[in-house]
């Protein structure tokens, strides 16, 4: 009897240890996730110190990128990243919102799921596939059609002629922007569709009841109600576009030059790193590339943080 009780106590004690141990294990893993992000930041900062010390603030403002004389400046990649992402969003945001409108207001019920799934499959295709497609199919196509057209159409228009100046290479900033637009389109579409779907039907019915057209319902009821969520989705897409590497690397042309022409080859932060990192010799070269990574991480971190904050706000209101 006594033995029975003591063995029972032992079992309970063992369970207790296991229980506490499991709790700490899970907590440790959760803290581990934080540590990894901290590690990413710390390692990037430490890695980029030599370059930042050497070039200082000039690193952000100069265009030169010369591995031979070891003079590096990040202006061209930063410019390329911002411009390609901006053009991509200019195309993807209206198209994405229109698709979301179609899916939530016009599309017959039986067609909604298949189209939704197809758009999400577009999001699942790895970026290297877009890259190889862009290089072999899309860029030659643009070289033969869109680019000569843009060059000749705007050759006599003062500002626009500078935007479309030079020979049609096929590859370049414009091609990269268009591929980025295709890639972020599914993200914007699926988030906009989700938040559009969450608008209370009563609001829309009331608007239809006083005689609004479908477009007026979307424009004056759905969009204002979901504004925060849509902005969150757009920011999430922007975060993707800024950090996108492989698809851009294939078609951007990798030229360290800030040029006004959109059809000229350029480079982005991620494409520069992908193209040059394994071939970089010397600490300063490597360190400059890591500093580029730090800048990219900083920009995307801010954009993604805003996205999350916005999406959290709409979740709270709807949820």
């Amino acid at each position: 009897m006594v033995a029975d009780i003591s063995s029972r106590a032992k079992v309970i004690a063992r369970l207790r240890v296991g229980d506490i141990g499991f709790r700490w294990l899970t907590k440790g893993a959760a803290i581990g996730v934080l540590l990894i992000l901290g590690g990413v930041m710390t390692s990037l900062v430490i890695g980029s110190l030599p370059a930042l010390r050497e070039f200082g603030f000039d690193f952000l403002l100069t265009q030169r990128w010369n591995p031979v004389t070891e003079k590096f400046g990040a202006l061209a990649p930063i410019y390329g990243t911002l411009v390609t992402s901006f053009i991509a969003m200019l195309i993807a945001v209206p198209v994405g919102l229109l698709i979301a409108t179609f899916l939530t207001e016009l599309c017959p019920m039986w067609l909604r799921r298949p189209i939704g799934i197809a758009i999400e499959l577009l999001a699942g295709i790895p970026s290297i596939i877009y890259g190889i497609w862009g290089l072999f199919v899309f860029a030659p196509f643009l070289q033969d059609t869109l680019q000569p057209f843009l060059i000749s159409a705007f050759s006599n228009v003062p500002v626009l002629s500078a935007l479309f100046e030079g020979p049609p290479y096929g590859i370049g900033m414009l091609t990269a922007s268009l591929i980025l637009a295709i890639m972020v389109l599914p993200f914007i579409t699926s988030i906009s569709r989700d938040v559009f779907d969450a608008v209370p039907p009563v609001l829309k019915e009331a608007a239809y009841g006083i005689g609004c057209t479908t477009w007026e319902v979307v424009r004056y009821v759905v969009l204002p109600y979901t504004r925060v969520g849509v902005i969150g989705g757009v920011m999430l897409g922007l975060g993707r576009a800024l950090g996108e590497t492989m698809a851009v690397t294939f078609v951007i042309g990798n030229a360290h030059k800030v040029s006004a022409s959109l059809i000229a080859p350029g480079t982005t932060i991620s494409a520069t790193i992908a193209n040059e990192f394994t071939e970089a010799v010397g600490d300063l070269y490597t360190s400059s590339l890591i500093a580029l990574g730090l800048i990219l991480f900083g920009i995307t971190f801010i954009v993604l943080a805003i996205a999350r904050y916005m999406l959290l706000r709409i979740e709270r209101r709807i949820g």
Binding site: T101, I129, T189, T245
Partner: protein, 285 residues
């Protein structure tokens, strides 16, 4: 007079509506058109070079025929290893956030950070692993590639584990606790079982995500022209081989790049459709 004016106002509104709705249909066709164009080109170019040799022969030197056996094996090894490393950490962290600290400060911070990691540029992960593993070790290695992929797997698993465990009804936990089960057992024997399908879905999605990842492998596993299962040495993988071959001037290499792209896309699509089917079937039961 007023009726004419109001009817012209009405027809203007109608016209605007028709234009916008036509545009939204056009936008949808535009979006789906890209899917057709990309997949179409991929099928066309990929299938024309697909043969048994692709799966049985090594990557060739420039200008001769060969296959993709070593990158396929390399990709499989790296992916499996990444899942083995990343999944347990992700599941445990997700468990903490859903079961122990659902409302505490740590969980909300981890949730925020995890969401950022989920969409952070993967090339930065490659740089990070280069700094902490490749540089100290002095050479590129399969281990470093696997760890880089694991860093990408982890946030996906954290997210789905947490979401799925939160869906488990509290009555199940209370019933298990009422018969005297310790908390760890409640989680292990009750919650995990109830959330199993969802958690497996998460792992499948994570595998789909990393099977096409190229950027983090470029400076970690690098590439290897020869067959190698040595994890302490550079290792070939499908995405990096595609990157190298597609940008080369050799016809044979470009053809192999297309075939490799087709293989990856099919794997990814199969995984994401499988994950979707699994999630749908578990919702019904």
């Amino acid at each position: 007079m007023t009726s004419a004016k109001s009817s012209s106002l009405y027809s203007g509104r109608r016209r605007r509506n028709v234009i916008m709705m036509a545009l939204s249909i056009g936008a949808t066709l535009f979006g789906l058109g890209w899917l057709v164009l990309v997949l179409g080109a991929l099928l066309w170019e990929g299938f024309s070079g697909l043969s048994l040799a692709v799966f049985t022969e090594m990557t060739p030197p420039p200008g001769s025929a060969g296959g993709l056996l070593n990158p396929i094996v390399g990709s499989l090894i790296l992916t499996v290893l990444a899942v083995i490393i990343g999944t347990p950490i992700g599941m445990l962290a997700g468990t903490y956030m859903a079961e122990y600290g659902r409302y505490d400060k740590l969980s909300s911070v981890v949730r925020f950070i995890n969401d950022i990691l989920l969409s952070a540029p993967s090339i930065v992960v490659g740089l990070f692993i280069y700094e902490v593993m490749v540089y100290p070790m002095g050479h590129f290695s399969g281990y470093a590639g696997a760890v880089a992929l694991a860093v990408i797997v982890m946030p996906v698993v954290v997210r789905t584990t947490e979401d799925m465990l939160i869906l488990v009804p509290n009555q199940l936990r209370e019933a298990a606790a009422a018969i005297g089960m310790p908390r760890a057992f409640v989680i292990g024997k009750v919650c995990y079982r109830a959330a199993k399908a969802g958690m497996v879905t998460g792992v499948l999605l994570a595998v789909a995500r990393i099977s096409g990842e190229t950027a983090p492998l470029l400076f970690t596993a690098l590439n290897n022209q020869f067959f190698s299962t040595n994890l302490n040495a550079p290792m070939a993988s499908l995405p990096t081989v595609i990157f190298q071959f597609a940008l080369s001037p050799y016809k044979e290499w470009q053809q192999l790049a297309w075939s490799g792209a087709l293989i990856i896309t099919f794997t990814v699509l199969a995984l994401s459709i499988g994950a979707r089917a699994l999630a749908a079937s578990s919702k019904q039961s």
